[in-house]
Assembly symmetry: D2
Homo-oligomer: 203 residues x 4
């Protein structure tokens, strides 16, 4: 995304009171993106782009690190260390699906990752069921599943008219379906809040 | 399981009022197992054992067909046709995890399968987070996730003392944790019941 | 394959002086197939059909065990033990490709398996590039590669007119291409014979 | 690799008459590396680092593009277009193994890729059995297999004392084993030269 797009994003954020998260793809772009964004996103293809991880860390901005689509959990946590080791501890992990032999979905959401990260790490983890499935009608059930499994957040693609979207329309929710997602998430969040307060006993 | 085990299972069922589901592994065992069990289970390694599928179908008993751990959704549904084509339509599918490169878990639960089956098939689908993860502390969050995604049921391994179990102890819940699962499932079931009554609109 | 097909196979073998290898799919068919075949083949979907492995072992006939398309090498060797443990040591392993994310080929031939088996086991191993690739024009190069890697044999599908084959035509060689394979294999066999006589030194 | 390492590499090349190929990891390093190296290597984790591909292309130097360890053949060829589209047609592909469920090897060499690239592309393809297997004793058989399948070249790791190597010692050949590889490759190269001169007839 060029600087024009970043300025528009920042204006939209100011008008709505939202924060901006957007992807940075090269070390030399980190400063420019950090000028406009509240959170820097590292994409799945860059999970092991160590120069980029270090530059993002040094920016001082919070960083969201997507799991590489063929990364093991261990490799993901080791990549996270490149951000943490330079003193930036505002790091969010994001599960977005892994590559398997299944061709019905774009990726296979590895929901078990969510409670594993909760157990072995102190880092928050969010879920991206839009990229994780590639199909809009799977976004709501997988978003609910992610939260039920303990996710700290969910990110979804939304578009006013997915059929005419320049990209990722097939995995985008309409505003109407986004509203459904939000209303259906509430009771699941409530149910899970109860679970997280009562962890299972040792084996 | 030999006939002695089956007799014990049937006695336990009678005393408790529960039904019996147990695995049948060879066509020549179908009659014996069908004598004692209410539901015949076809295991993941036999998903494409077509002789067995046909024999199970002909028994007239309900059949539960586990997904092969490397089967695509399409192959699974085609295997299901071996049961359905012979006139037995009491068929339940069971997602139990697929094999991926991840080694932290025994398998990777493919939760997206649940809403896919709901969409493309009329068959009920249940989830097996015990085999799907291989780790007891992942069973509760993945069970909740499965139900949030729309599963019609959950099967879990339970053992009074998992540490001394002959097999699968690492993925078995204690009675205490089973009770926690049951109480935590209730609000998620309630939340999802609402979702299933309000499907998302066409794209 | 029914008994009529087996009788035809046995006749063809007698006329040509070839041996017969054919698949057996159920324990109850082992005796019938063993009457006509010289070697019993266990297919990829039955690699862990332990009842079948035991019945094949007890037949006393040589057994060829294909690798399950999602089996690790360790699981394959453990399945082989079901044949060996009952006293039948005439066992041949067959690599026929594993399931991966790649969709260009039907399976991914795991050629590294060949020298691994050579190192960790005393069992002979052959390669099946027809099923391993699913495409006839990949059969010759993968057959040569398998032999170069140390395979003890190669099995390929051949058909006089692959375009009209009832099944597997896409992966079948014409007679003409089969002749090419045979003539091209000879110098590779000679080259590798030299390698096998001079193993690499310890690290 | 810093500039000191590059200078040493260039000196070694001058003394021996060899060419230098070395990895470049960031767009901003391309000019420096291109000053000293004859060929720029793009590593598996950067296969889809499009900024880097474009910078490497513009350098005018020959480029070697390793396959991403979870990239399909199609994705690999599409990544190659980033180099070709900017007018640099001195591009070499390198198969170095893909990630699968098998844990015995570090990766699974996808040997079928070699004849596929030969068929669908005009680009030369070489094989890297050191990274492709992760085990030194698999390097020779997989190198022979790659050449038998039609590879245009092989790259292997060599170290005078692999046990004390700073990295990748487990997959490095000693000088003695490297000599064995070279002498064993010769007859396979001769055998395959014959094959490549006589392609199989249309189906």
């Amino acid at each position: 995304m060029g600087v024009k797009g970043l300025i528009l994003l920042a204006q939209a954020a100011k008008e709505t009171g939202l924060l901006v998260i957007t992807e940075v793809m090269s070390p030399q772009d980190v400063d420019m993106v950090a000028n406009y964004a509240d959170i820097l996103q590292i994409g799945t293809r860059n999970m092991q782009n160590f120069n980029l991880l270090e530059a993002a860390s040094k920016s001082g901005k919070p960083v969201m690190l997507k799991r590489g689509f063929s990364a093991t959990i261990q490799e993901w946590l080791l990549a996270a260390e490149y951000v943490l080791a330079l003193g930036n501890n505002q790091l969010i992990l994001c599960e977005r699906g892994i590559r398997t032999f299944e061709t019905y979905t774009r990726n296979t959401m590895d929901i078990s990752t969510i409670p594993i990260i909760e157990k072995v790490s102190h880092l928050p983890i969010i879920a991206d069921p839009s990229h994780g499935t590639g199909k809009w009608y799977l976004v709501i059930p997988l978003a609910l599943a992610s939260v039920a499994a303990g996710a700290d957040g969910v990110m979804v693609e939304v578009h006013p008219t997915p059929d005419t979207a320049l990209k990722d329309g097939q995995q985008s929710l309409t505003f109407e379906n986004f509203n459904k997602l939000m209303s259906q998430l509430q009771p699941v969040v409530a149910a899970v809040a109860r679970r997280l307060a009562v962890p299972p006993s040792g084996k």
